[in-house]
């Protein structure tokens, strides 16, 4: 799969966030989005993942020369970031089952159990998310983002709230994921950049 972003520009009211950003990335690689706080890394991630419309420019996902529709993209991408929460009143299982069913997955239980185990959440899956620590919530977000086996994974602040063991699990995942699929990280952490094949640096506008 190939991702092409052309002339991405974003304004909030009269305030410019960034202008004319171009890049392309393909499966089997990792792209890192860098920039100081307030530079618009999160906004760019939201635009590229189709969560937010750009003021100008286009984002396309291609596969074998075919442009994917928004619905197809929705099934093919995974996303996690600090502003993207799961339902706090529901348990981890209720959350994951809801998202799996809505994504059209039928036999998702084995993958769900494997991922819960991989991220150290086995045994706590029937607790409401509200009762989780911030690190456990971040781990659950990884399970949510990976459950449907996406071809593109967007991760905003990959190490957020994770302990050393959690970071090690995530780094194992990144090494494996970028072998055949596309990994896009928004980070300011130099250790995360070990996975990056390409980098985009956003500067604060103005």
């Amino acid at each position: 799969m190939q991702l092409i972003a052309e002339s991405i520009t974003k304004y909030f009211n009269e305030h410019i966030i960034f202008k004319d950003i171009h890049f392309a990335a393909a499966s089997g690689s990792c792209l890192a989005v860098l920039g100081p706080n307030g530079s618009g890394k999160t906004t760019l991630m939201r635009i590229v993942s189709k969560l937010l419309a750009p003021t100008a420019g286009t984002v396309t996902f291609n596969e074998n020369g075919q442009v994917l529709t928004d619905t197809e993209i929705r099934y093919r991408i995974g996303f996690l970031g600090p502003y993207l929460e799961l339902y706090q009143d529901l348990t981890a299982t209720e959350n994951l089952s809801f998202f799996a069913k809505i994504r059209g997955l039928t036999d998702y239980q084995p993958a769900m159990n494997r991922l819960l185990d991989q991220f150290g959440l086995k045994g706590r899956e029937e607790d409401p998310v509200r009762a989780y620590s911030s690190g456990m919530k971040q781990r659950l977000k990884y399970v949510f983002a990976l459950l449907h086996q996406p071809d593109v994974l967007f991760v905003d602040e990959p190490r957020s709230n994770l302990d050393a063991e959690g970071i090690a699990r995530v780094y194992d995942l990144f090494s494996e994921f970028k072998k055949e699929r596309l990994l896009i990280l928004a980070t300011n952490d130099s250790e995360d950049l070990q996975f990056a094949d390409e980098r985009i640096e956003i500067r604060v506008a103005g």
């Binding site: 939201r46 993942s49 419309a53 929705r74 929460e85 706090q88 009143d89 529901l90």
Partner: protein, 232 residues
């Protein structure tokens, strides 16, 4: 082939709308936020009205108007919650990531319709009993409540989606919803007055048709506009 794809698309939209409705229902039964707000508002208003005007003094005109005012403002206290909750809990983007706007709107609309029916099931019989409100044409009242609920829920859901993204959510909802839902209120009151009259004073069919038409128009407009509101 194209019509088969369309059928599959419609089936998927329906299934996902049902899943979103089920998720909202599960959340609501765990927190009872909207349910408590609407029930308590309706009950407090009902008892306040009964104490203020007494049970035998009011004419059917006043009783009809008061019933719809209670239902309208009770629904205003809870219908916005369906989108405000998603924005406040930062789950709107998560939902946006997995579902199409039409599926989300329909799921939320079904939830608001069910919520309103539950409130009406409790409030209307209580109101009739406490206020000594004689209904001669029960089916007519039931039809007005049915179509009125679709209109209130349809308008309430789309306005809830608009105000959820603003800062002054609570204040804006009723202010924006009132002019949009005024036709439901006025026609609902008129049909209820008719249902409370032994001999019908006007043909209720045209009024029911307008209630039904309003519901269809507001729900269709909601489906068409929701994409722009949700993705802004």
């Amino acid at each position: 082939m194209e019509s088969l794809n369309q059928k599959q698309g419609l089936l998927q939209t329906g299934t996902n709308a049902y899943l979103i409705f089920k998720k909202d229902l599960l959340q609501e039964f765990k927190t009872r936020y909207a349910l408590n707000a609407i029930f308590l508002f309706a009950l407090v208003t009902l008892f306040a009205v009964s104490f203020a005007i007494g049970t035998f003094n009011a004419s059917s005109d006043i009783l009809s108007a008061l019933l719809w005012i209670i239902l309208f403002f009770a629904s205003m206290s809870g219908l916005s919650h369906i989108f405000v909750r998603e924005e406040e809990a930062h789950t709107a983007d998560t939902l946006k990531l997995v579902a199409k706007p039409t599926e989300i709107f329909l799921g939320k609309l079904i939830f608001n319709i069910v919520l309103l029916f539950m409130v009406e099931l409790l409030v209307v019989p209580l109101y009739v009993a406490i206020m000594n409100f004689t209904i001669y044409h029960i089916l007519l009242l039931a039809a007005a409540l049915l179509f009125g609920t679709f209109g209130l829920a349809g308008g309430g859901t789309i306005v809830a989606a608009i105000i959820a993204k603003s800062n002054a959510r609570g204040a804006l909802f009723t202010v924006l919803a009132f002019p949009i839902l005024l036709p439901v209120l006025v026609t609902g009151i008129s049909v209820t007055k008719n249902a409370a009259t032994e001999k019908l004073f006007s043909n209720p069919v045209s009024e029911l048709q307008s209630l039904f038409a309003f519901a269809i128009v507001i729900i269709t407009a909601g489906i068409l506009l929701f994409d722009f509101i949700w993705n802004e």
